[in-house]
């Protein structure tokens, strides 16, 4: 009973637990068993780094929207009982002395954290291959990358370990792995969800995001973790609207298709799945209109100046003094340098070097100030489109389906896999990916983007599109 219930989705689990509290024990036990079984063997997923102990989990759960629902949490979001190691040797085994607001909100809604998930070290990567604890495999095809940096949560949700997972985004680290693993991934508006307890990468871009196997699971989770938090000065004090809904007509709704997201180089089968999704939107009554976001091509260069610059400052705190790894030395300088050399992997080192370089004397104006100006132009592009009557934008989430593990060694080529997702982080707008079909058996994601704080509009389209595509979304 509990095995099929775990597959049924968050709302069904919460309803069943509400009717019979003992069901929670069975569902959580099944989730923990799936953590174990999916980890086994040479082709194990390696999605969950820290598994919760069953005896510590259920008991008197709050009677909220997620009562008894197992959730997984990315390893850079602070939890009290399980380590928060950020996929890094720097924080190996480190347990946070406080809890992230998003985790507290999930627990207060009755959710049960069953594990912390693998990720690219300090969220820097697009494949989860940069984890100090080995790569995660894509459950759809275990020779493929699950995407990243939140690849562990995406894989865990796709493998039905839990219906809901938390991830984090700086440039697409929820939506890209959601697309690669065939699940739903949501990045809320910057400020909609508290970042308190999310280990900082690039503070002006970072956002906690949500994975769900269905739009409904993702909507419930996003609504649950949203809202103002006194511990995060950038969190908005706007009220949290209802995001959960149901499939319905899209009569009169205007869907924009930005031509820059459909270049000639786009994988033809990805384009075909997008065309099918757009046909579905038209059949629901939506008006589809081509639009332009002219500064799109500059998003990757802008992102890879701003994000490493902010990271170089944020990661300065990992120096061996207060917590985490310490490389003993007889000098203070030796302690700093040795700790950071041993604690950080190559991608993190590369980005700290890059960020320090673009912020250094003589280069600040040429790189960092310039990137901030172009970031404003990118945000202005979105403002212009949304103020012209477009309600949501539709694009592919990624240019290609999941690539093979080990296939990409050039850093910049890897960065390009985020080309359709970084713009939403730079502009601070909400965006999500949902499955729209498969190519050679590999999932393809369609991306919806909306104006600031327009999550309800975005979910309205997502519910309708998911329903209209039906089983086609996974074929």
């Amino acid at each position: 009973m509990s095995a099929s219930l775990l597959d049924a989705g968050a709302a069904a689990i919460a309803a069943a637990v509400h009717a019979d509290a003992s069901v929670a024990d069975q569902v959580v036990a099944t989730a923990l068993e799936r953590v174990r079984s999916t980890h086994e063997g040479a082709q194990g997923l390696n999605a969950v780094l820290h598994r919760a102990r069953a005896e510590a989990l259920t008991g008197a759960l709050p009677d909220g929207a997620l009562r008894g629902v197992p959730v997984v949490v990315k390893d850079n979001i602070a939890t009290l009982e399980l380590p928060t190691s950020c996929g890094s040797r720097m924080l190996e085994g480190w347990v946070s002395p406080y809890e992230a607001t998003v985790v507290r909100k999930l627990r207060e809604a009755g959710a049960v954290v069953v594990g912390k998930t693998n990720m690219d070290e300090f969220a820097m990567g697009s494949s989860t291959e940069n984890s100090a604890y080995g790569p995660t495999r894509n459950p759809v095809d275990r020779s493929r990358a699950p995407g990243g940096s939140s690849g562990g949560s995406a894989a865990a949700v796709a493998a039905a370990i839990a219906p809901i997972g938390l991830g984090s985004e700086t440039g697409g680290s929820v939506r890209q792995p959601a697309a690669f693993c065939g699940v739903v991934g949501v990045k809320p508006t910057y400020g909609r969800v508290s970042r308190f307890g999310l280990v900082a990468f690039a503070s002006s871009l970072d956002a906690v995001g949500v994975f769900g196997r269905t739009v409904d699971d993702a909507a419930i989770a996003t609504e649950t973790i949203s809202g103002h938090d006194v511990h995060d000065a950038t969190s908005s004090d706007r009220g949290v609207p209802t995001m959960r809904g149901a499939p319905g007509s899209l009569d009169g709704l205007v869907v924009g298709i930005p031509r820059e997201y459909f270049p000639d180089s786009l994988h033809p089968d990805v384009r075909a799945r997008c065309d099918r999704a757009l046909d579905a939107l038209r059949s629901l009554g939506a008006v589809v209109r081509e639009v332009s976001l002219p500064h799109t091509a500059l998003a990757i260069p802008v992102y890879y100046i701003i994000a490493p610059a902010e990271a170089s400052a944020n990661l300065a705190r990992f120096d061996g003094v207060r917590y985490g790894l310490r490389a003993e030395s007889d000098s203070l300088r030796g302690l700093y340098d040795g700790t950071r050399a041993r604690g950080f992997g190559p991608e993190v080192t590369r980005r700290i070097l890059l960020g320090t370089y673009v912020l250094s004397a003589g280069f600040y104006d040429a790189y960092y100030r310039k990137a901030q100006d172009v970031r404003a132009l990118i945000a202005r592009d979105f403002d212009a489109v949304f103020s012209s009557g477009v309600d949501v934008l539709f694009t592919p989430t990624t240019p290609t389906p999941a690539f093979a593990l080990g296939a990409i060694s050039d850093p910049y080529e890897m960065y390009l896999s985020d080309i359709f997702t970084v713009t939403a982080n730079l502009a601070g707008i909400p965006a999500m990916s949902l499955p729209i079909g498969r190519v050679d058996g590999l999932p393809v994601g369609g991306q919806l983007l909306a104006g600031h704080f327009q999550e309800p509009q975005m979910f309205r389209v997502a519910y309708a599109l998911e329903d209209a595509l039906g089983a086609e979304a996974h074929r």
Binding site: L80, W94, V95, P97, Y98, E99, V230, H231, A233, T234, L298, I300, P301, V302, Y304, S312, A316, D319, G320, V321, R322, Y323, G324, R326, S329, D330, S331, L332, R333, L335, Y336, D337, G338, R340, A341, T349, R350, I352, L353, L354, T356, Y357, S360, A366, Y367, R369, K370, A371, Q372, D373, V374, R375, A376, L377, A379, R380, D410, P411, Y412, Y415
Partner: protein
């Protein structure tokens, strides 16, 4: 504006990163490869756009200038590498006189 080995040594020193000499050439090549793509930003206008965006949006929001302690579930000593009397312990700065730990 090509990155040189000395540039990498310099930023590594600024960032408190120990880069082995054997890895220096790799980072020089990779940073040059990445920064080459950044050059296309030079052709774009938009000077002052960031400052203008800040002034036309809601602007920087300030919170009350008060200290709000984060309640910790465990004491600092439970995760600090080394502590004594409420202070984090580190090796002496090289410029200080040799002696016992500070």
């Amino acid at each position: 504006m090509a990155v040189t080995p000395d540039d990498v040594r310099h930023v590594a020193q600024l960032a408190r990163l120990e880069i082995p000499e054997a890895e220096l050439a790799m980072y020089v090549d990779q940073l040059n490869g990445i920064l080459a793509h950044m050059e296309e930003l030079r052709a774009v206008g938009g000077a002052g756009a960031a400052a203008q965006a800040e002034s036309t949006r809601e602007g920087m929001r300030l919170r009350p200038d008060t200290v709000g302690a984060v309640p910790l579930a465990v004491p600092l000593e439970s995760f600090a590498a080394a502590m004594r009397d409420g202070f984090f312990l580190v090796p002496r700065l090289a410029t200080h006189e040799a002696g016992e730990e500070s």
